[in-house]
Amino acid sequence: MDVYVILKLVWAGLLCVLLIGLGLMVGMDMGVGTLLRFVGRTDGERRTALNIIGPHWDGNQVWFILGGGAIFAAFPTLYATSFSVFYVVMIVLLFSMILRPVAFEYRSKVEARLWRASWDWVFLLSGFLPMFVYGAAFGNILQGVGYHFNWTGQYFQDNSFLTYLLNPFAILCGLMAVSLSVMQGGVMLMIRSENPIHDRAQYFAARAGLMAVVLFLAGGVWVRGMSGFVLEQGDPAMPANPMHGQHVSMQAGAWLHNYAAHPVLWLLPLLGVVCMLAEVALVLANRPRMAWWMGLGAWVGTIGTVAASMFPFFMPSTTSPDQSLTIWNSSASQYGLTCMLAVSLVFVPLILCYTSWCYYVMRGKVHTADIVKDTHSY
Amino acid sequence: MIILLRFAGLGLALVVALLFAVFVGDQGPWYFAWAVGTVMIILVAAAGAVLFDAQDGRDTSQEEF
């Protein structure tokens, strides 16, 4: 196979890894944010919950930034088009995301009750909304998005943003992502908190996990009847230019073609469902550490399922299907992909090492009494 | 033996630093200047603080905080 094609594939795979890392790590923090008002009744309890992720949320959030950066570098056309096509949704996501670092830093710096109560609502908003939008974005690209390019490569939008928000399938996907994040957030709280936070987190984590399973299966059934896209003609080694060189058709149920062709892919949805159920069981059995790792499996299964059914599409276009963005026509140049790969090979292992080391240094239960005493805590 | 290893490690670090300095100094002199300059600024500021302690060392215990 052509080196360029291999590079494109490797980067599509790395993008999946990033999306999984984003869902798992950022989702976990968002879940804690969503749950904050429910697991913590007193101010001390809420501060405890915040300080459990306190030393790590900033590092975790970089997964999100890195996700954006990697799409920009590896698939610039995808970055340019998807972010603009989803403009209003993206801006809402951005607003809720930028509220979060501020909320962490400012919430406990002032004693007033109204002040802290307001920031607690901000945590709910900035935990729920981004995960919802994250899931809803997957829902939307599965259904296809309305856009086309003119000859210079400028994109033009053909649908109103309302179709991306008021869209039952997208809402289902959004809620699914929120459920996974709440489950993971609850598990993290269980690992590092004591009662009463521990038991409340257990309560919410188990229910969110069950909801995730139900929504995941419902989504699967829905996709069967949905109109999918098929790449009829297109050379994987083509120059990355979405304006011509592809022929794409829309067919009902096409998103299951890859599964029909390669039945081994069914292992991905299976992995997702099994891990979600196992996580619920482990949460109920009070084994949060093992449950946390099941969360990884759940995200791998979920993102993997979507990736397997859409391959090689990134963002199909309903109004101009031939200009649909695929792995082949939206990537960076061979040189750019090579550079990025070399840099990643050096830094990704390094990042994994020092991130784990940070968790190791900050390990152990967080006690409410210590948090309230310490003037430097969140 | 441990001392020998330490020297070997130190030597390796020096060689790496030297190669880095030669390469960056050649390709990007301003980057090199930044690295050296920043270290210098920190050391000067730190020296200023230590100097303060020396100038002021006679009666710190009485000083109001």
Binding site: G68, A73, T81, Q154, F156, A240, H376 | I41, S61, F65
Partner: protein, 531 residues
């Protein structure tokens, strides 16, 4: 026909400028304060005196308040290229995305992961280990700036990429060329040390406030000393690198340097004055009044006494043939897109260096279509396009001057501060302390004007001489832009109010809970506090 709406382009530019300037209110402090924290903690680890740990903790707390907003508003920047500059991102993303992604991988991850340990790890790490973490945070935040400025420099001086007619975008071809772009080097050092200046002024000003109130004197006098010395060396570096950048602009971006200097006509060395103040009029293309210092401009910019600097009118005239050639290039490229004939490609290759100037004519072409310009219209289109090659002279000229005047002021201020601090004569000079206190916001102001000079002076291009700004924006509707602008304005106003409130609150409170301690010279006491 899909047309470009100039109002949407203007709103996109306004939104980007607003969010970038706002982001950059917090970045300089992060860049500098991290290294100052490292310097303070170094003294603490070496001497073991508690007061230096108090310094690291207190300034660290103020750093944290600032850092949160820097991170939050940085998220906007990472997204905005995609959400608002779609054409730019597609056209230049192959090259531009790489430094941004490396920034995340190499710098931002390191900074963000270790900043948690820096705040929360005091009791869990040994003293040297915590110090190492602080240095890593400082290095991380500055490496972050490095990659962002490498990306930015490639917009100003597009080294390491060429246009590829197959993909209709700039193709990345030299990593070394991008990273060691001379503009990137000088810009990074200039910006990073400008951050050092901002942080020095911040620490010095707040320390001056304590000295004025005769509170926390041991703490404040030491902080002041360190900040003053940190500041004087940084200011010298900022000025040196500013000079280097000026010369690079002279070599690579003649329109920017001519606008900065308000030079409408080519200079006459060696007499040509450096204009201190003027009122440039963009519409009339002349300055209505000028005061200058003779014999300064030529050696300042060119480091020689006999090299002329091309003026803006002459640059416009020189651009006319490039606009014509660019229109030919675009027409050939469009034919090639449809026909894929080698002949069209050859025509394009012959004119491809002027492609950007062809795109610049889009606004004046019938139906915004350069390929539809009839031969008899060509001359009038060129005449209309010519003045477009210049940035806004008034803005560029004055933002540069404000930055430079402030820089000179900092130099004097830090020099005096260092002298008075070394002589231990600060508390007698209350007026000077007040001046230090009131100067806290000035370095941030200077960096903002520096950014306006650099990026405003780059106009009308997003990628210099390759892609015009008005073509780079996403094709949103007005209502989308109004929605996002309203949201940003509201959120950012709340943020700045909260930030200032907290900054003032904690600065007033001072280094808390250390009122009972003495200087920490007593080793028994130390072992309790710094286990």
């Amino acid at each position: 026909m899909d047309l470009i709406n100039p109002a949407v382009v203007d709103l996109s530019r306004f939104q980007f400028a607003l969010t970038a300037l706002y982001h950059f209110m917090f970045v300089p402090l992060t860049l500098g304060l991290t290294f100052m924290l490292a310097a303070m903690e170094t003294v603490y680890v070496v001497t073991g005196r508690q007061v230096y740990k108090d310094m690291a903790l207190f300034w660290g707390k103020l750093f944290g308040i600032n850092f949160a907003l820097g991170v939050a508003t940085g998220l906007t920047m990472e997204f905005e290229f995609g959400t608002n500059w779609s054409m730019y991102s597609r056209f230049f993303g192959d090259m531009f995305g790489t430094p941004l992604a490396i920034e995340g991988l190499m710098a931002f991850f390191m900074e963000s992961t270790f900043v948690g340990l820096m705040f929360f790890g005091w009791d869990r790490l040994s003293k040297p280990a915590h110090l190492a973490i602080t240095y890593l945070v400082a290095l991380g935040s500055n490496l972050s700036a490095l990659w962002i400025l490498v990306a930015n420099a490639s917009m100003n001086v597009p080294h390491g990429a060429h246009f590829d007619p197959e993909t209709l975008r700039m193709t990345f071809d030299s990593f070394v060329g991008v990273v060691f772009n001379p503009d990137a080097q000088a810009k990074f050092v200039h910006t990073s040390v400008a951050g050092y200046v901002a942080a020095s002024m911040f620490v010095m000003g707040i320390s001056a406030f304590y000295l004025l109130r005769r509170e926390h004197r041991a703490f404040a006098a030491r902080s002041f000393r360190m900040a003053a010395l940190f500041g004087i060396f940084s200011t010298v570096a900022v000025i040196t690198l500013g000079d280097v950048l000026g010369r690079l602009d002279y070599e690579h971006q003649p329109t920017k340097i001519a606008a900065i200097e308000g030079l409408w006509h080519t200079s006459k060395p060696p007499y040509e004055p450096w204009i201190v103040a003027a009122l440039p009029n963009d519409a009339k293309q002349e300055s209505s009044f000028e005061i200058g210092v003779p014999f300064v401009l030529t050696p300042l910019i060119t480091h020689s006494f006999d090299t002329p600097i091309t003026g803006m009118i002459e640059l416009e005239d020189a651009a006319a043939p490039r606009i014509a050639s660019g229109i030919t290039a675009i027409s050939a490229l469009r034919r090639y897109e449809e026909s894929h004939l080698g002949a069209d490609l050859e025509v394009f290759h012959a004119h491809q260096n002027d492609m950007g100037y062809g795109l610049l004519a889009t606004r004046h072409a019938p139906n915004q279509d350069v390929t539809a310009i009839a031969p008899e219209q060509l001359q009038s289109v060129i005449e209309q396009t010519k003045p477009d090659i210049l940035p806004n002279v008034f803005v560029t000229f004055w933002s540069f001057r404000i930055m430079v005047f402030l820089g000179v002021f900092f130099f004097v201020l830090f020099a005096m501060a260092s002298y008075l601090s070394l002589k231990n004569q600060l508390e007698r000079n209350r007026l000077f302390l007040k001046l230090c206190m009131w100067s806290i916001p000035l370095p941030v102001l200077a960096t903002e004007f520096g950014w306006i000079t650099a990026e405003g002076g780059r106009q009308p291009w997003t990628v210099f001489e390759r892609l015009p700004t008005f073509m780079s924006a996403s094709t949103h509707s007005m209502s989308y832009m109004l929605f996002s602008l309203a949201g940003f304005t509201m959120l950012y106003s709340i943020f700045i109010a909260v930030e200032l409130y907290l900054m003032f609150k904690f600065a007033r409170l001072g280094p808390e809970a250390h009122h009972q301690h003495d200087d920490g010279a007593d080793p028994a006491h130390l072992s309790v506090v710094a286990h």
